[in-house]
């Protein structure tokens, strides 16, 4: 009896702490949301109010009617999707080989992937600029996809390696005994088992590309400008379009929320994925 009650109090404390944490994360976003639905005139009101006096979609109308933002969204989405596909196509098989056929060289390979994550992207941006210029890929979708893939592959590789570590070697061996070649074992058994891990990695890769600012700033201009660049430009030398900026930011956050919700089941499965229980 006493144990149960103490457990309950502990539980309540944990819940309260979690609530505070969630609110502190959510608050800036909620404020952004509130601001975006205020009439343009109320946005800069001093002192600022948290709740809008009147709900208005004026800001949204403004950003959607301008041609810059929809076009930037299309760029962002194309780049993020292509980056995700390309990164997974490279990182998933590479991580599998590096973890299941462990040699000194594969360990070194993963270590290098980690090291590239530690180099600041500013330092990589300049050579990337020169490289893409030489290839004639500046301000093109393929150019930015390549740049984003170079940044996303190491992350995807490390994530997928962690997931593959949990896959017992016997699974592939069993498939090979059951009549598969190594590649068939990978495709028919290992990949389907790994959907959770792949979903998590896909999400992180997508977000990496979607949120990326620096390469997009350096490597694109009018033709393929991505959404974060356009949103930043609302704060320009001509003044701060605060209302439009918040509306654009809200729209910009929607795909990430949508993708996360769509993959929710796989992500929870992937994150709690310890050893594969057979």
């Amino acid at each position: 009896m006493r144990r149960a009650r103490r457990f309950n109090i502990n539980g309540m404390l944990v819940n309260a702490a979690a609530l505070v944490l969630v609110l502190s994360y959510a608050l800036p976003y909620v404020y952004l949301l509130m601001t975006s639905i205020k009439p343009a005139a109320d946005v800069q009101q001093i002192p600022p109010s948290f709740l809008p006096a009147v709900v208005s979609l004026e800001n949204f109308r403004e950003v959607l009617q301008s041609s810059a933002l929809p076009k930037a969204f299309a760029s962002s989405l194309t780049v993020a999707v292509l980056t995700t596909v390309l990164s997974l196509a490279v990182a998933v098989p590479a991580a599998y080989v590096a973890t299941q056929y462990r040699r000194r060289i594969t360990t070194l390979f993963l270590l290098f992937a980690l090291v590239t994550r530690m180099v600041p992207s500013v330092s990589l941006g300049v050579p990337l600029f020169q490289l893409l210029k030489a290839l004639g890929l500046l301000d093109t979708i393929p150019g930015l996809v390549l740049a984003h893939t170079s940044a996303a592959v190491p992350l995807a590789l490390l994530l997928m390696s962690a997931f593959f570590e949990g896959v017992p070697k016997e699974l592939e061996e069993a498939a090979r005994m059951d009549g598969c070649t190594r590649f068939q074992a990978f495709r028919k058994i290992i990949l389907p088992v790994m959907t959770g891990g792949i979903a998590v990695t896909a999400l992180f890769t997508f977000i990496t590309s979607w949120n990326e600012f620096l390469y997009a700033l350096l490597l694109t201009s009018e033709a393929t400008k991505t959404a974060p660049i356009v949103i930043a430009e609302y704060n320009s030398v001509y003044g701060l379009a605060w209302g439009a900026m918040t509306a654009a930011a809200v729209l910009y956050s929607l795909p990430v929320i949508f993708v996360t919700l769509a993959l929710q089941k796989q992500i929870v499965g992937g994150l709690t994925f310890g050893a594969v229980k057979g």
């Binding site: 017992p168 016997e170 229980k277």
Partner: protein
Amino acid sequence: MSAIELHTINKVYGNSFHALHDLSFDIRDGEFMVFVGPSGCGKSTALRMIAGLESITSGELRIGGRLVNDVDPKDRDIAMVFQSYALYPHKSVRENIAFPLHMAGLPKAEIASRVDEVARTLELTTLLDRRPALLSGGQRQRVAMGRAIVRKPAAFLMDEPLSNLDAKLRVQMRAEIASLQRKLNVTTVYVTHDQVEAMTMGDRVAVMKGGVLQQVDTPQNLYKRPDNVFVAAFIGSPSMNLYEAVLNGRTLTLGSNNFEVPERVFEYRPSLNGASHRQVIVGIRPEHMNDAAIRPSSAEISAPVTLVEALGSESMVHLNIGAPWVDAGDPDAVADIGDERAAVARFSPKSTVRAGDIARVAVDAEELHFFEPVTRTSIW
């Protein structure tokens, strides 16, 4: 169905560890062969080489007469049951069992009927639509068996398939696997480090130690005629008691005890004849020592009792023999005996000896084993 032949097979791992030394023996068509030995002796390595999951450093491996050293696992027509079962977690029981048939490209109708048949044999019919995660250990074990037998392969390989089950289920599955194998009559190689499993299941048993084959024979012969001290100690539970002794003519001196070795032993082991003060290692199984008060014998020794473990059906009596004890190199034996100097005798439960007594022990001297002290091989 196929015979499996191993001819001077060696395995050197990538880190230059020499795991198997000149392994040579034949597994006959339809035979149930057990590999047994202490942990790390190379049983799994040998099995995985037969499976094709591990490369063969040197030597020849033939399955059904065909040299398969460089043949892919999928083309060897053998099925394997893993210790961890390695069921496909995203597939139902039905799909797990059907998978090898799909890979073999069988028509759907035949796959369905064969899966149903196997499910009936293994009592899995009601579980066919479940995922492996929702099964008990014993049920998973059965599914793994089902996936192996559904293909009707040339041979089954099993690596400690029962070691994840509790003791009771293990005994039950032991009998089931053995009877299933007899029914299907498919060549089977079964790896275990449990000598009871080895003795009860195998047509023949290969005893290994440190990557070297010690002896291949039927369970009865391994028990009755072990080739060396290691096999003698490894087979049988509790282990055979091994002591240094001196044989002079027909008289054996074991510590402070002397007794006559019966004529039959010398017929059995002619090279023991005419011994004069010959140093030997003598082996006495626990079941060949009894309470002399209950079953008198012509060969009796007296020894202080250090411990009595009454098990109901029998009593394990630990005796201080007072002769130099011989380490057979079996890591499990020490654990069996506890105090490594003590000999263990298996007394009738009627025995009234207690710790601290000096027991009169009747030795079944016809069942004594003799080994060379240096080479540690049997004296025949």
